[in-house]
């Protein structure tokens, strides 16, 4: 765990992340500008730091409805206004990037932030980057696997000699600067694909798992598959952290939370995926066994702890500005999260 900057003896890490979505939500009826949205992301991180949260993430997207195409730049600004909170990418679209460049960016971020940077590398659940940078979606898996291996190799030993299909070869190459402690925690982002969780396990990479909606037990199966694959490949699962990422909305009144949040979630689905979020599925969020984190601080606490029983994970991060939620509400959610949910979860998960 220490290799990935996770302290075994501490309680579960709790954080927030944002995708910088800039959706035209009828519920707000007011469109933020890109400028305002990016500044709010920074403010949100500052609030997270001030509230004593452990982690803040910025997720990368390269298409309409999102402003965070340059996540390391936004994280760099956040590094400048914070001192303690860990800065992670949630996630980096590694498949369409040059791993060498990604490593340079995050090593720089690591030095700027005094060793707080981490990479969560993914393939992108939105495909804008593939067209933009001239990659073929048919190479979806191969692109990622090759680039992830290179990224891990860069983190392990330099100078590096490497040859692959999607990038010119490296001969005795060295990348500057180096991260503060010589290497970075590099996680593998895992979404809907069971095989991706197993691959993360086989490689012995920490898993950052999107557990957005549906029964939490579904994600338990993915966590189990990850650990099983890791064990079979000879890795010590006791040294491999797991993070769960989801969407969250808090109100003191659980029913009000459901009522107020549904339009934002549904709008996000309609705009980003072209389908509605089924109301009957959303209604399941009232159960602590469902992964959608909507409700009172008490209910959210129970849901996180229920997942902790299932996953035994080391980190929980939540997206609380889904669908371009008004910033005032984001502030309120951070307040309730930090003062009610976080202390309860920390207490319950303390070793």
């Amino acid at each position: 765990m220490e290799e990935f900057h996770i302290n075994q003896n501490q309680s579960m890490e709790l954080g927030l992340y944002t995708l910088g979505d800039l959706l035209s939500t009828h519920a707000t009826e007011k469109h933020s500008s890109e400028h305002q949205r990016i500044q709010e992301m920074v403010k949100m991180a500052k609030l997270a730091e001030d509230a004593g949260l452990d982690v803040f993430g910025v997720g990368e997207s390269h298409q309409k409805h999102f402003v965070a195409s340059s996540a390391p730049t936004i994280l760099a600004k956040i590094a400048g206004v914070t001192n303690n909170i860990k800065l992670i990418s949630t996630s980096t679209v590694l498949s369409t990037a040059d791993p060498v460049r990604v490593y340079e960016d995050f090593s720089t971020l690591d030095l700027l932030s005094d060793g707080r940077a981490e990479i969560v590398a993914g393939r992108g659940s939105r495909y804008g980057a593939y067209e933009l940078f001239g990659y073929d979606l048919n190479d979806y898996d191969e692109l990622f696997e090759e680039k992830f291996e290179l990224l891990l190799q860069l983190n392990k030993e330099q100078p590096i000699t490497w040859e692959g299909k999607f990038r010119p070869p490296l001969k005795n190459a060295e990348v500057f600067p180096k991260p503060l402690e010589g290497n970075l925690p590099i996680w593998r982002a895992v979404g809907q694909h069971h095989s991706s969780a197993m691959q993360a396990g086989r490689m012995g990479a920490p898993m950052h798992l999107a557990a957005l909606y549906g029964a939490s037990s579904v994600f338990e199966k993915r966590v189990n598959a990850y650990r099983r694959a890791a064990e079979e490949a000879g890795h010590d699962t006791g040294k491999l952290p797991v993070a769960a990422a989801t969407i969250m909305y808090i109100d003191q009144d659980s029913r009000k939370a459901m009522r107020d949040f549904y339009p934002y979630l549904n709008d996000t689905f309609r705009q980003v995926r072209g389908v509605s979020f089924p109301k009957d599925r959303f209604a399941e969020a009232t159960s602590i066994k469902n992964a959608v984190m909507v409700g009172s601080p008490q209910l959210i606490t129970e849901k996180i702890l229920y997942q902790y029983e299932l996953f035994g994970h080391q980190r929980f991060v939540a997206q609380i500005d889904t669908g371009n939620l008004p910033f005032k509400k984001v502030q309120e959610i951070i307040e309730m999260y930090a003062t009610e949910v976080v202390p309860a979860v920390r207490k319950a998960t303390k070793k």
Partner: protein, 188 residues
């Protein structure tokens, strides 16, 4: 209510002929409904490559988005090589998982042989079910002998088409009420 008729083949005229009868019956019985007929023979639709349905261009985008906006879809299909034509399967493949959630889907089938009768049961309904459609269980099966020079000559088929239209609208209206009653309980 938005009703889309989807004539699923580029080959032959029988399915289109039957769809014309169907759309005419719908227009006469339900003048307030918004009816659109998409005959895939008239569109140049590309094969699905897995992208979001709204990111296609031209005819492909039009067909996918029109189907997604419908409240009910009446599919007309011939039977080729003991299955539906690839053109129709491709429309399904263009759409996201669960694309027919909250939509009613009904079918008419034209075939050269009565031996094809169960193909809808065994091949089309499982697809529609997977895509979460509310399926009108009874479909209209029309044989080659029921047509003469682009007209339907069997009165029984015409009665069945009228019933298909009626069943489609009744189920769509009823399902809307069921859904509204269910969602009214949710309070969000």
């Amino acid at each position: 209510m938005k009703i889309v008729g989807l004539s699923g083949s580029k080959v032959g005229s029988k399915t289109r002929t039957a769809m014309d009868y169907t759309m005419k019956a719908a227009a006469e019985k339900y003048p307030d409904a918004e009816l659109t007929l998409i005959d895939l023979a008239e569109y140049d639709v590309q094969f699905s490559d897995g992208r979001d349905y709204r990111e296609y261009e031209g005819d492909t985008k039009y067909v996918a988005e029109t189907v997604m906006e419908a409240d009910a879809i009446i599919i007309g299909t011939p039977i080729f090589q003991a299955s539906i034509p690839a053109t129709l399967k491709n429309v399904f493949d263009l759409l996201p998982a669960g694309a027919f959630r909250d939509k009613v889907v009904s079918m008419l089938v034209t075939a050269g042989s009565p031996k094809h009768y169960l193909i809808v049961e065994q091949q089309v309904k499982p697809i529609l079910g997977y895509m979460k459609a509310q399926i009108v269980q009874t479909y209209v099966f029309i044989e080659e002998q029921d047509f003469y020079r682009k007209e339907i000559t069997n009165d029984d088929v015409l009665f069945r088409i009228d019933r298909l239209v009626e069943d489609t609208f009744v189920l769509a209206e009823t399902y809307t009420k069921i859904r509204e009653a269910k969602e009214a309980e949710y309070d969000f």
